[in-house]
């Protein structure tokens, strides 16, 4: 990492970092602002690109920008300029970029070449042509192509004031278009044929989405570079997906992640001017992606595993307590005392209740002890504490109500039953619970052994 490099480290100080991050200097302020705006627009468009499953298409498009960029440069030079006219350069780049993606679509629709192969072909042919052209340009006498190379890897600091305004306006416009067409793009991505059956001009909509992607690509070419811009389009969207299952929220989160990556990345790169800006921005975005992958609240790995662990524990506890309660029921079937009383239970009988090993039961008991559900236990027998007994009878009642419900209401059951819910009452109406309790009445379990509270046990 660059922090380990002594030469780089020498140029790095927190003072300067703070100065940059909080935009205290005009030049960095423009660079950082426009890169953040770019990040926001890339996050928005990228979400649709991702959902349309066109990520590779974006890659082909951005690589296909190179020949157009160089051609525009050569034309500018031929007409006697320095080749430093950003709008013309971007127009040239966008033109071949769009042409490249049109080629991909054409290959798909008119030949039997598959999408991915088509993209691979277009990407390499166009990029190859671009590299050749760039070489020619470099060998031409009297031209300074240094600026061109910055478009490949990104060089945010090379931005000029006029560029700043152009790029920022473009980025904002892209973002606004995405918001205006949110509903249309959503349907396009989800069910293209349905959109067509509504009479929507799906093809034109698709092209417009491509146009927006091309726009992000050329806007980002200076700050991020055309090789890595695809990462800037895809990574924020992919990261956002880990946090939500809602498209609207995903859009905003993706824009936010893109914006933050642009901000932090551009600040860092103005501190470390020798490193390619695009790479830094993408590394920042990737860190956010990895964090989301692990901790995302909708699909993050850690979150999912934690949920599962919690569920496994909860169900383990329920099984143990119910096993004890049911054993108590079997132990006290005297007519004058129909309800089970809390007393010591042989461990043997608990183990026999389920496909448990002694080991499993011991583990469950140790946890139950920590939760104060046990009065005491040893290798031969165990007894529940008062709260444990209450909990056990509540769990058993819950369980039986669910069983009855599933038998009597089999038709609606699958979508209503949540067997690990803390209480039936949370999911079923009071009338329903009363009805079920009546059905349960003949069994030797009190309708409500302890006053039922809605308190959820931790």
């Amino acid at each position: 990492m660059f922090f380990g490099d002594p030469i780089l480290l020498a140029t790095f100080s927190w003072e300067i970092f703070r100065e940059v991050l909080f935009l205290q200097e005009y030049n960095t302020r423009t660079v950082v602002t426009s890169t953040s705006l770019l990040g926001i627009s890339a996050g928005m468009v990228g979400s649709f690109l991702l959902l349309r499953k066109r990520s590779l298409m974006g890659d082909a498009l951005s690589h296909a920008c190179l020949p157009g960029l160089v051609i525009a440069f050569l034309v500018l030079v031929l007409f006697g300029g320095t080749g430093r006219n950003l709008p013309i350069l971007l127009l040239g780049a966008g033109a071949t970029g769009l042409f490249g993606s049109a080629m991909v679509l054409w290959l798909r629709n008119h030949t039997r070449i598959k999408d991915d192969a088509g993209m691979g072909i277009v990407l390499s042919v166009f990029f190859g042509a671009g590299v050749v052209l760039l070489n020619i340009a470099q060998k031409m006498p009297g031209t300074r192509t240094a600026g061109l190379e910055s478009f490949i890897y990104g060089q945010a600091a090379a931005m000029m004031r006029a560029d700043f305004i152009l790029l920022s306006v473009l980025a904002v416009a892209i973002t606004l278009w995405c918001l205006a067409l949110k509903k249309e793009f959503t349907l396009l991505c989800f069910d293209e044929n349905f959109a067509r059956s509504l009479g929507w001009p799906v093809q034109r909509l698709d092209l417009f989405l491509l146009l927006l992607i091309a726009a992000v690509t050329v806007v980002g070419m200076q700050a991020v570079g055309l090789i890595l811009i695809i990462a800037f389009l895809i990574i924020p969207a992919a990261a956002a997906r880990f946090w939500t299952d809602n498209l609207g929220r995903m859009l905003f989160l993706s824009a936010f992640i893109g914006g933050i990556s642009g901000w932090v990345g551009a600040s860092l790169s103005s501190l470390l001017p020798r490193l390619p800006a695009g790479a830094i921005v993408v590394l920042v975005a990737s860190s956010i992606f990895i964090f989301s992958l692990l901790f995302g609240s909708a699909r993050g790995i850690v979150r999912r595993n934690l949920d599962q662990l919690r569920l496994r524990r909860k169900i383990g506890r329920q099984h143990l307590l119910r096993a004890v309660y049911e054993t108590l029921e079997q132990m006290s079937p005297t007519p004058d005392d129909p309800f089970p009383r809390n007393r010591p239970v042989p461990l043997e009988r608990i183990v026999a209740q389920r496909s448990w090993t002694r080991q499993d039961v011991r583990k469950l008991l140790r946890r139950a002890e920590r939760e104060d559900h046990l009065h005491e236990w040893n290798e031969r027998e165990l007894s529940l504490s008062e709260s444990g007994f209450g909990e056990a009878s509540r769990i058993t009642r819950n369980h039986r109500l669910w069983e009855i419900f599933m038998i009597t209401h089999a038709d609606i059951a699958p979508s209503h039953v949540d067997r690990d819910a803390d209480s039936v009452e949370h999911l079923l109406s009071p009338e329903m619970v009363r009805e079920l309790e009546e059905k349960l009445g003949l069994q030797n379990i009190p309708a409500s052994p302890h006053p039922l509270t809605r308190e959820v046990h931790p």
Binding site: L51, K183, F190, D191, N193, S197, L247, S415
Partner: protein
């Protein structure tokens, strides 16, 4: 697939196309890559009926629907909806695609999918409003899964997803519905629910063209049937055209089981 060149049935050469049929298809041929898949389809659908499209796998049932909906280009043919060219009548049409045709991992809820049914009437650039969502919710209630409105669609079972698609079509408030295998992979209860819904649509005077695979239930569910195998083998009231001979022509003679099914059906009908 072997006998594609049967002479046309005698009562079928050039039917008069009625002016106001919900759907009238004239001379339709569709090809993928130069290979015609359905040929010379000539059909008039009667109004207010439930109409089944049956035929073996690859017969072109989905293709017929897609061609009617203008989703794939036609080699030849003219399609009219209530007497006017298809393009002018889109607002009268509802569509239930095959369930596999979309990615169910998409980050939207059941309600949002159903809301797509009213997108056509919202207009471009306009946001989805509360009243649109209320309409979608109503449609979800009608198919019996109102309580699942907020669920992300990947967390629905196959039958529930099918109901979501039906609800979306209901929200379209169309006159003519195209449904591609709405009964695929649903349990008996869902099937009953869907049939009840179809009947309700029929009572409101709407017409439904439904691709259906279960020959045993065709006679029970549908008034009309179109037997399709690259061409229309027969089309008409179920009682008249859904018999063994036509089934043989549609599915080929190599299916003894089918023969029995056909016989059983004939007994059912008489």
């Amino acid at each position: 697939m072997t006998k594609t060149n049967l002479p046309p049935a005698e009562d079928d050469p050039h039917p008069e196309h009625s002016r106001d049929a919900p759907l009238s298809i004239h001379d339709l041929t569709v090809a993928y890559h130069r290979k015609p898949v359905i040929w010379d389809i000539d059909l008039d659908l009667p109004e207010g009926k439930l109409i089944a499209v049956v035929g073996p796998n690859g017969a072109g049932k989905s293709t017929l629907l897609k061609a009617c909906l203008d989703l794939i280009p036609r080699v030849s043919g003219d399609i009219r909806v209530y007497g006017k060219p298809y393009r002018q009548q889109r607002s009268l049409i509802g569509y239930v695609p095959q369930r596999e045709s979309v990615d169910w991992d998409f980050p939207v809820s059941a309600l949002e999918v159903v809301t797509m049914g009213v997108y056509g009437s919202i207009g471009w650039f306009r946001p989805v409003l509360r009243k649109h969502r209320a309409k979608a919710q109503e449609a979800l209630e009608k198919v019996g899964i109102g309580h699942l409105a907020g669920r992300q669609i990947s967390q629905l079972s196959g039958g529930q997803q099918q109901r979501v698609f039906l609800a979306r079509a209901l929200a379209q408030e169309a006159q003519l519905y195209f449904m591609d295998e709405p009964f695929a992979a649903v349990d008996a209860a869902t099937e009953r629910a869907i049939v009840a819904l179809l009947r309700e649509l029929q009572q409101q005077g709407k017409t439904c063209l439904v691709v259906h695979h279960d020959l045993a239930t065709v006679a029970r569910y549908f008034d009309h049937v179109i037997l399709l195998n690259m061409r229309v083998v027969a089309a008409g009231p179920t009682a008249e055209v859904f018999h063994n001979e036509n089934l043989q022509k549609t599915y080929g003679g190599k299916m003894p089981l089918l023969e029995e099914a056909g016989q059983a059906l004939r007994q059912n009908l008489s």
